[in-house]
């Protein structure tokens, strides 16, 4: 079964990280990605640019409306994602728990809908 792990973290907190901490985090992510590639759980994943770079798009009455910024103002912002393959939700949860940002942010785990 495929699960999308959405990684949320506080951008304010991330901005406070110094170069050394940033490098350590990137290394941690690199190792995590290597690990789930090796176990065959990895399907895809990317990091995203900060939420201030977001444009939110809606179509109302045939007209395209855009808003500057993310869909919702929240304490933690979507910072990236992994698409993983896991046999059970248990496995997906234990993989999500190893995503480095789970320690100070949070990870939302959602099953991917299958159309038959």
């Amino acid at each position: 079964m495929q699960y999308l792990c959405l990684i949320f973290e506080s951008e304010a907190l991330a901005a406070q990280r110094d170069e050394q901490a940033e490098a350590a985090l990137i290394e941690e992510y690199g190792k995590f990605t290597d690990d789930i590639e090796a176990t065959g759980n990895h399907i895809g994943g990317e990091a995203l640019m900060p939420s201030e770079t977001a444009t939110t798009v809606r179509v109302r009455n045939g007209e395209t409306l855009t808003t500057d910024g993310p869909f919702a103002e929240t304490k933690e912002q979507l910072g990236g994602y992994y698409l993983i393959e896991a046999a059970t939700l248990d496995e997906a949860i234990s993989i999500a728990a190893k995503i480095p940002s789970a320690k100070d942010g949070c990870v939302e785990v959602r099953p991917v809908m299958k159309f038959e």
Binding site: T88, L89, D90, E91, I93, P111, M113
Partner: protein, 394 residues
């Protein structure tokens, strides 16, 4: 004769698990068991049902087969109609699988409890809504949402793998703890229902201890349940008798001894958990020959330890009751006032406060507290007891 209530509570979960494993259709299983429980009720009016578990499964199975034959004849052709030969061991495994599913950590604890009361204990939605203090509609929505989540995440009724066991087991234990508490200290006050709930929680806890040997928390919780359940014969006759007034010769002393052995064993298995501390407190109550002989000092210390694990207003309330027993009225009062906001809708809080005021000669305040307790209490025999106390204050 075994009461209908206890027949249902002790058989429903296994029947549900076994039927669901065979037919993989929750709605169908729920409907069939509703039908079978009705039949069981009719039958229990006139005779004893021997081997109720097998009986319930048989009646529900026939109902499902009839329904399938009527509405899905094509599917019926392909269905294996022969009764599967199930051993007690397979019954246990199916039951465990059901509990683990109801208590999946991805479900909120409140919904885990609701699902357990429904699928494992066989309560109807109205009773569950009442126990969880929500409206029928809210409960139905929650159950529907939870079922959808189980389906979307393909959470099936299998047992967790070894690597996920610790986190899964903790969730199950916590819910059984809540279920037992609801049975013993619950607001419904229906002794018959409550006792069946406690007994079934103990049965399931035993099953877990047997299956996952050497788990310290499970053993400690089973010890805690047994220490408390051992008092049931002295507690619930026609109305609930408080611990201080119970005839202790009526306690189930072999059960107390078993609990003690389990607690000692669990203490050797690793770092004590909050279940260990609670079991130790319950054990001290059980060892005292009468209420006044209780080792209150030790109990006060154990509550300090318990509170160092997690903040709990109810634990503070209980500690303050122990403090009053050793005459530390000022300390008890400080503790009680510190939790006023948390327990403002909790009858036992005002009972303790009333006791404190009465014994420190503030009769007006005592009357006020007991009146508040009376209006908050949903338990008929507790209300009656409070009424008597109020009359004595006048």
């Amino acid at each position: 004769m075994q009461s209908f209530e206890s027949v249902i509570r002790t058989t429903y979960g296994t029947a549900f698990a076994v039927l669901n494993k065979r037919f993989h259709d929750i709605q169908q299983v729920e409907d069939a068991l509703q039908h079978a429980c009705m039949k069981a009720f009719e039958r229990s009016q006139t005779e004893n049902i021997f081997n109720a578990k097998a009986w319930l499964i048989k009646v529900a199975t026939n109902h499902i087969l009839d329904e399938v034959k009527k509405h899905k004849p094509d599917y019926f052709e392909h269905l294996d109609k022969a009764d599967p030969i199930e051993t007690a061991y397979q019954y246990d495994d199916a039951t465990l699988g059901l509990i683990f599913t109801c208590c999946h950590p991805s479900i909120s604890q409140e919904n885990q409890l609701a699902l357990c009361l429904k699928w494992v204990m066989g309560f109807d939605n109205t009773s569950i809504a009442r126990a969880l203090l929500v409206s029928d509609k809210t409960l139905e929505q929650r159950i529907t949402r939870t079922k959808r989540k189980l389906r979307a995440n393909s959470i099936d009724f299998s047992l967790p793998t070894q690597s996920h066991l610790p986190i899964r087991l903790n969730a199950v234990i916590k819910v059984l703890y809540l279920m037992f508490n609801e049975g013993y200290f619950g607001s419904s006050g229906r002794i018959l229902v409550s006792n069946a709930l406690c007994k079934q929680a103990i049965y399931l806890m035993r099953l877990i201890c047997r299956t996952y040997r050497g788990n310290a928390s499970s053993l400690a919780l089973l010890a805690l349940m047994l220490f408390i359940q051992a008092r049931a014969p002295a507690r619930a006759t026609e109305k609930i008798t408080l611990l201080e007034n119970q005839d202790r010769s009526k306690w189930d002393h072999p059960m107390v001894e078993e609990a003690d052995v389990l607690l000692q064993k669990s203490l050797k298995l690793g770092r004590p958990t909050s279940y260990h501390i609670q079991a130790a407190i319950a054990g001290l109550h059980s060892q005292a020959s009468h209420y006044q002989a209780t080792d209150w000092q030790q109990i006060i210390l154990l509550y300090d330890k318990l509170l160092s694990y997690e903040y709990s207003p109810v634990a503070i309330l209980n500690q303050s009751v122990a403090l009053m027993q050793v005459g530390s009225w000022d300390k008890a009062e400080d503790k009680l006032l510190s939790i006023q906001e948390n327990l403002r809708n909790y009858a036992p809080y005002y009972i303790a406060l009333g006791y404190l005021y009465k014994h420190t000669h503030r009769l007006k305040a005592a009357t006020h507290s007991l009146k508040t307790a009376h209006s908050l209490s949903k338990n008929a025999s507790e209300k009656e007891h409070l009424q008597e106390q109020l009359q004595r204050l006048r």
